[in-house]
């Protein structure tokens, strides 16, 4: 093998993979002296590329201290040994060759990254994202590091979760306390006939894992209430996607999210009509700016009562996923300050202008992100009470 063709060497100037990792844990740098095209195909996370032709000069410039601990690797250990010997001759005392190079690393089944900083599988999986200038490798890495919370794993949550998982949103939180019922399957694509009776959050986790192993699912099998809202919504989410099925929860989510400064992508559906908007705390209006008071219950029937076209949540939930991705990436114009109305029967889309209300009890003048937590009211009672006469 490689060792056979190497000149006789001092054992101390070569380490195996485990030895190299141990040195790195203790602070050693790790230089890869292969060519850029080789690096592009596969490299070890945390290694620095300095191609062979300029390796010695490059390392001396980067680490002028001859006592600096440095690992040097290449494809199999030949080029890197030449570099190590040259550095040793120049007085470097703690430079070692990584025996076997990246071939030994791969033979041990260790993960490699592409030039993009993504794994080879990720490069392939997200290639259509990376090709878009507004996303690119940086955007994809941002998505992989993002945390998006979905309220409801039902009609709106289904397409939102499926697309966000496919897009590589790294952590998806799901809040739902229902179990899958046959009447859900007309529109809730997260769930399947053979998972009837299973908790929706568990059924959803199966679906999302099946699409993308990169995604971590945090399941909350609970109904969001004033008692658990701070804990659930406060777990470091970048964006909340609201697909809940009732008004009390919408007010609760609003009051907590405004205080925490988390943007909420709102979606609601009824029969053939859907509404989507983004409530971005203090940058635009919040739910209470739009609806300071809830309507009487008979004027806000749920889909269970009034029905809904099965494909409608597919459209509205997908629009919500789109807005969530834009918020994570910080690209484009979100629906903050605008409400998009979709009428499936008429096949029309209208956009209405929403404005922040300076007198809003949640986000009006005098309110700000953080500070003392507002007291959460009894939202059920708030929404059941007759409107102010």
């Amino acid at each position: 093998m490689i060792r056979g063709i190497m000149p006789v060497m001092d054992d101390s100037i070569e380490v195996d993979i485990a030895g190299a990792l141990a040195r790195r844990d203790q602070g050693a740098a790790w230089v890869d002296v292969r060519e850029p095209d080789e690096w592009q195909v596969a490299h070890i996370d945390g290694t620095e590329l300095i191609p062979l032709a300029g390796a010695v000069e490059g390392i001396v410039a980067r680490w002028p201290d001859p006592a600096a601990p440095i690992n040097v690797s290449c494809a199999s250990g030949v080029r890197s040994m030449r570099t190590v010997e040259a550095l040793r001759a120049a007085g470097y005392t703690d430079v070692v060759n990584v025996g076997g190079g990246i071939k030994a690393w791969i033979a041990e089944g260790r993960p490699v990254l592409r030039g993009s900083g993504l794994t080879a599988q990720q490069d392939e999986r997200y290639s259509r994202h990376v090709a878009i200038p507004e996303v690119g490798v940086d955007g994809q890495r941002r998505l992989l590091g993002a945390r998006v919370l979905l309220l409801g794993a039902g009609g709106l949550g289904s397409p939102a979760a499926l697309y966000l998982a496919a897009a590589g949103v790294g952590t998806i939180g799901l809040v739902d306390d229902d179990v899958v019922e046959r009447s859900n399957l007309q529109r809730q694509l997260l769930h399947t006939e053979d998972r009837i009776g299973v908790a929706k959050v568990d059924s959803a986790e199966v679906a999302l894992r099946g699409i993308n192993p990169d995604v971590r699912v945090e399941a909350f099998r609970t109904r969001l209430t004033a008692d658990n809202a701070w804990e659930v919504l406060g777990a470091g989410w970048d964006v909340i996607v609201d697909g809940t099925d009732n008004l009390p929860t919408r007010y609760l989510v609003n009051d907590v999210a405004v205080h925490l400064g988390i943007p909420v992508v709102h979606g609601s559906i009824y029969r053939f009509e859907g509404q989507v908007t983004v409530f971005e705390p203090f940058a635009g209006p919040c739910y209470r700016c739009l609806y300071p008071e809830p309507p009487p219950p008979e004027l806000a029937p749920s889909c269970a009562e009034g029905g809904v076209l099965g494909v409608l949540p597919g459209i509205v939930g997908s629009l919500q996923a789109t807005e969530a991705i834009k918020l994570v990436l910080g690209i484009g114009e979100t629906l903050a300050g605008r409400l998009l109305m979709y009428d499936a029967l008429a096949a029309t889309v209208d956009t209405l202008r929403l404005r922040r209300d300076p007198a809003c009890p949640a986000c009006g003048d005098g309110h700000e992100v953080g500070g003392e937590r507002p007291e959460l009211i009894d939202y059920e009672a708030f929404c059941a009470m007759p409107a102010r006469a």
Binding site: G152, G154, L247, Q275, Y291, L345, R355, A387, R388
Partner: protein, 92 residues
């Protein structure tokens, strides 16, 4: 003349009509015409003090009338008026 777009929850009160035309130089005038044709709408949209109820949003040409002149908001010929109550539906 304005065209009102009636939301699904109020359509039982307009004989299931989605669009209803009503003349008027202001929103208030056009609403009076609308209520004459469909009297049950009045109570759903207008409070006892004569103002719009807080859970009903009305947009004239895409702008919330509360940020304009409320019921005095002027209508152009062909103005579109969208009535938008809160909708609960989502997950269930």
């Amino acid at each position: 003349m304005a065209t009102f777009r009636i939301p699904p929850v109020l359509r039982p009160l307009t004989d299931d009509q989605v669009k209803v035309e009503s003349p008027g130089a202001t929103l208030g005038e056009a609403l009076e015409g609308l209520f004459e044709a469909h009297p049950a709408l009045r109570e759903r949209m207008i409070d006892t003090d004569g103002t719009l109820r807080r859970f009903v949003n009305v947009y004239v040409d895409e702008e919330d009338v509360r940020t304009r002149d409320g019921l005095e908001t002027p209508l152009e010929s062909g103005s579109s008026v969208i009535v938008l109550p809160a909708m609960a539906g989502g997950a269930a």
